[in-house]
Symmetry: C2
Subunit: 470 residues, 2 copies
Amino acid sequence: MLHPVVLSGGSGTRLWPLSRKNQPKQFLALVGERSLYQETVLRAAALPDAQAPITVCSDDHRFMVGEQLQAISVDSGGILLEPAPRNTAPAIALAALHAVARDADATLLVMPADHLIEDEAAFRDAVAKAKVLAHEGWLVAFGIEPDYPETGYGYIRRGAALGEAGYRIDRFVEKPDLATAEGYLAEGGYAWNSGMFLFSAARYLEELGRHAPGILAAAREAYARASSDLDFTRVDEAAFKASPSDSIDYAVMEKTDRAAVVPVSCGWSDIGSWSSLWSVAERDANGNRHEGDVISVDTKDSLVRASERRLVATIGVEDLVIVDTPDATLVARKDRVQDVKAVVDALNAAGRTEHLSHRKVYRPWGSYDSIGVGPRFQVKRIVVKPGAALSLQKHAHRAEHWIVVSGVAEVTCDDRVFDVHENQSTYIPLGAVHRLRNRGTEPVELIEVQSGSYLGEDDIVRLEDVYGRS
Amino acid sequence: MLHPVVLSGGSGTRLWPLSRKNQPKQFLALVGERSLYQETVLRAAALPDAQAPITVCSDDHRFMVGEQLQAISVDSGGILLEPAPRNTAPAIALAALHAVARDADATLLVMPADHLIEDEAAFRDAVAKAKVLAHEGWLVAFGIEPDYPETGYGYIRRGAALGEAGYRIDRFVEKPDLATAEGYLAEGGYAWNSGMFLFSAARYLEELGRHAPGILAAAREAYARASSDLDFTRVDEAAFKASPSDSIDYAVMEKTDRAAVVPVSCGWSDIGSWSSLWSVAERDANGNRHEGDVISVDTKDSLVRASERRLVATIGVEDLVIVDTPDATLVARKDRVQDVKAVVDALNAAGRTEHLSHRKVYRPWGSYDSIGVGPRFQVKRIVVKPGAALSLQKHAHRAEHWIVVSGVAEVTCDDRVFDVHENQSTYIPLGAVHRLRNRGTEPVELIEVQSGSYLGEDDIVRLEDVYGRS
């Protein structure tokens, strides 16, 4: 059976300020209403013989993965939590071990969570061809037929044909300069290395053991000692961290003599930058892509995104990327968007947080958004999902006022438990042990006014937590 | 004695999104920490023999004028409220009538509230020269020595010299095209019409009566029937509205045979657009002017303003104006900023409010800022100035929760009056007659959570108001 493996380990900041460390590209709805991760999962789930997809992700993103899966009603084949990033070879090893434990003959379809594929039929055809080769013992890479001399990708040069389905891989080549890339296109037989693979899980583990035994050993131990935590499989931290960090390309694909490539032309993009998003997005007659509340006057070939409750107006500009979020706005020339990294580095060096998290923060129980701050107070808008509960907690430095504006909140405050309805309020004194719970079927929305000398998120003692965070 | 007259009637939107109808250019701190209005008042107050300045402004801006005067501790010579805009000739007539009632020999120095003058010494010299001419009965216009062929201003051509002090005015000319403006510079003897004037108040009224008797009659009647309202002189609405609308240039200066010009070169700018603000502002080595939290990478010759609690990052752009406010951001090519008007027109046509007022709204008692809205609720951050009180009021469609985060609020709620301290809250039920007052010496800051089916500002019945608004 085919076990899709969605690699969601990326924490890219190339789409800053929309992507942040806590909410990287794969979890954003960049094209359409679903996130790239959700689109990837749905694409996988629709394949013939596909089993429930396995996700490998960072521990930091586990609740976002869980929530995004729930929102599209797709059964999970497991969410494997990486305690630390170790590149793709160890991540795929975990998925392979997880799959063979359930299905000794498992075939893995490995897909990064943050790619766009516009022509799903072409992709399905390529998967069918790759399955033929995998059954013959080949480790198959999907090679994207290049339509221009891109210098940002690695290339795969094909060798001898393997029947109708694909080719042996002659060699992998690093990101070329423009002249070399142009040569590749002129010569033919080269494809972009998409980062998508298909092979037997057992064969992958076998080849990994041959060419990178340290990675296999670490992954085996980390997986053997894994603990189950809600829907998540949390592999052993020490064991996993002991693994060498390496990509599947270097660790396996370039070394094995059973590497094959299936060329495909399926409207693929890795949306590696704002300019590549602009180039794949639908645009108006002036070449503009607008999202949100935008008024543009004589504006051309630009990507403009306004965030909620905000207007962006443009006059007489062209070839710009303008991305507005609640706490940061980027204005960049479209051909310079790779330098977003310089901004992120500057934020990091200054100890700032605009590259780490959005003003609105997602939690397993819902979300909060800091809508106002002052010298000794902070105002948060809090949403608690139906059936969810915050941890039983207390604060050393702040009191909290809660005003319920929608739904019915069950409030615990020291030894009292009571309901607070819409247009009612309650007060949590400094030091009181408290909890907020939504027993209803609709979200609870409330305004929290914090008052105190210190208002950091780290002033919290969690006494109990249904999400294993205490 | 010299009576400065500050004309603050402008409601320009050319600096949108920073300038709004409720807070036009003259009240903004565009260069330095004080507003252009405050700078104008201080410049006038520093002149020899200057009396307390008279302000003529729109009724809508009276509290802002009062507050900005108070903030710079300058005594007011009167704040005359125009019930409707009627251009400069009637406004100056009101000021002249106000001045002669106090000082029959009053000399008026008329200054628009929204101009910048960098060389105050040169300006003072020009005022001294103009006073000499005014004492001889001349109506003096200040003409700015042009340093480039600007096509956005009217020009004054000088005639025969009047001693050392100035010249007769040969003629006024309309905004020229570029070739004509270049001709003026080459020919010499032309100056920009600055909109600043100096003359005897009695002489102005005399000439106005001769050349525009309808304006004089209306102004006389409006002023005679004026009522006093706190620090404000509210002229009669019907009488003032009956006045023809005309500029001092057309109504008087172009018609009188006693028009003189004093040329001056004093670093004058009317800051008529974002590009002119950029050109007068101090800039860094890359030609950029940054205000607020800005990170720029390879950015040149741009004006970038970030609003509070927000970051603006720029990459690889040049010659842009980027102005960020809490509810709207403008990105415009610097040579296209005159098209801000097209955006404002679009907002107006769509029945929107982003050109009318900022999210933070100033009131005579302080300010409020709508920091969050939802389907049946709104969250406001409210500041009440020391000694100030909101009106005694009630709402038909909303209840209010108040949480005090700074200071001590005196709250009236139906028949109870009580204090609410920092980190305390109270509840105003729907329909309750209530008032908020600050009896202390520090500002009171509170968070208001409104809950109800309709949350518009017009759901208010004012039963009493210390500012005459009930």
